[in-house]
């Protein structure tokens, strides 16, 4: 009975607002991922003195649609020896976990609609960053299950690599983040952004946590399976990695999930270290502009920051060769974890000292 009462209290406007926001953010992630594939090909081409795709539409703008259409119409092959259910679940999991992360990211300051302040964040939960970590570590299941279900030795090897790599790099990532959380004192994403807004450009966390950011960035590359840490898809040793047996849109989902992950990690890094939707060198509160304008501007700024990160990811991919597996493990366990620990202890000491 009490449960029913509680349900009745939820107002319809709130549900509608969240539905719209969820729809918008999922389609946004998809759209960005689509054009990230196009951007990847263009960046790769330009870094290699080529032009890149330019036949579908002007400047090849329709290329992602053509690629997607091609993948949809390809024959779908499920190998006879595979575990069929798991084989189908694998790419689904990869896609779902990639899309789930965006739920706790604040996309801009709130919008006043019909006398209510509509937050541009799907869920402002008090363990926001912890939630992101939880979902990202679930992402390993997509790779692991896909690799296992394929019943292919190369896929399995790649999946094992992917799993161990993601598990090892979550550690320094978390440790680098703890130092940041000690500065903020809250796990809530909106508080982390608010902490950086107001006092201008030099209040961004990057100025307080440069080492922490570098560690976080390297780990983000490893978590997204991007070069130089793309060992799960090392084509010269493992043919094609964990998605070798996949075809059609199931393969597309795996590739697509990688780009969504890249976008989300760009957004997370801008939120944590680069002020989120904060416009640099401008004190938004002092401008006295319409909150709608500020929200749209803030959103555009956040997207710009995310795209800069996506570009850096691509730039790194087409510059640096892949690490060897032992080098990857050495870097993770013997360099990044001690560094992150050092960073954490140093931050703790400074925070305590300043409080006294």
């Amino acid at each position: 009975m009490r449960g029913n009462m509680y349900l009745l209290q939820i107002d319809k406007f709130f549900i509608l607002e969240k539905f719209l926001l969820v729809g918008f953010i999922i389609s946004l992630s998809m759209l960005v991922a689509m054009y990230a594939t196009y951007a990847e090909r263009k960046v790769a081409a330009f870094l290699q003195d080529r032009i890149g795709p330019n036949r579908a539409g002007i400047f090849g703008i329709l290329q992602p649609l053509a690629d997607g259409g091609k993948l949809f119409f390809k024959e779908e092959i499920i190998p006879l020896a595979s575990s069929k259910t798991l084989f189908v679940i694998g790419p689904m999991l990869a896609m779902i976990t990639a899309l789930l992360t965006s739920a706790v990211i604040p996309w801009g300051p709130g919008l006043p609609i019909a006398g209510r302040n509509v937050s541009l964040q799907i869920a402002d939960i008090n363990i926001g960053i912890l939630y992101i970590f939880g979902v990202v570590s679930l992402g390993v299941y997509g790779i692991m299950i896909g690799g296992w279900a394929s019943n292919n030795k190369f896929s399995l090897l790649a999946a094992i690599r992917g799993a161990s790599q993601m598990v090892s790099y979550e550690l320094p990532m978390g440790l680098a983040l703890i130092a940041l959380l000690m500065l903020v004192g809250d796990l809530r994403m909106s508080t982390i952004v608010q902490d950086q807004i107001g006092k201008g450009f030099f209040n961004w966390h990057i100025w307080y946590q440069p080492l922490g950011f570098i560690i976080f960035f390297i780990c983000a590359l490893a978590e997204c399976n991007r070069t130089p840490f793309d060992l799960p898809e090392a084509e010269n040793e493992l043919n094609f990695g964990y998605h070798q047996e996949y075809s059609s849109m199931k393969l597309g989902f795996y590739l697509f999930a990688e780009y969504i992950n890249m976008f989300i990690s760009g957004v997370v890094m801008s939120t944590l270290y680069f002020g989120g939707y904060d416009i640099p060198f401008v004190n938004e509160a002092g401008l006295g502009w319409d909150p709608w304008v500020l929200s749209v501007l803030g959103f555009v700024v956040l997207m710009t920051k995310a795209w800069i990160f996506i570009f850096i990811f691509m730039w790194i991919r087409w510059t640096i060769p892949r690490f060897r597996y032992d080098q990857l493990m050495n870097l993770g366990w013997k360099s990044l974890i001690p560094l992150a620990l050092l960073n954490m202890v140093a931050t703790a000491v400074v925070v305590l000292w300043l409080k006294k």
């Binding site: 330009f46 870094l47 003195d49 730039w315 087409w318 510059t319």
Partner: protein
Amino acid sequence: MQLTQRAKQVDRRPMTWLEKIYLWNIVKGMWITLSHLFKRKVTIQYPEQKRTFSKVFRGLQVLNRDEEGRERCTACGLCAVACPAEAITMEAAERQPGEEHLYKEEKYAAKYEINMLRCIFCGYCEEACPKDAIYLSETFAPSNYQRKGFIYKKEDLLIPNPKENPEAYQQALGERREAQAKK
């Protein structure tokens, strides 16, 4: 002993601290790739733009005519003998009275075929020809869906008639125009 001036001494010194942390070297590499972002692109947009071939490019064969539009080939078979890939076949026929405007000499090739899948474009047929009847042009064989599409008949190989279609003839001559003018 140094054979060329190009040899470079390899630096075998142990890595310094800066090199060991690897980050600085990554930044240097990234700088190089970034500079390539703004360099002139080398792509040739193929169907619209075409690379100009060198003057000695050996492409598709052309059966030549003389100035009055008569076929020069006498079906002597020297090109077929010279052909290392055995791509050329021909059948000879005798010129009948009244056909003088078609064939330059009394004997001509009734059938002349080159299999472009066998041809290696070595140009020996051009060298062997005593009548200057065959030469290699500056185009290559276009793609085809069928095997028989690559067996070029005499009609496919013959140069346009200079009397009937002088423009196409001049175009087909291409770079050989100057060479022929010198003769």
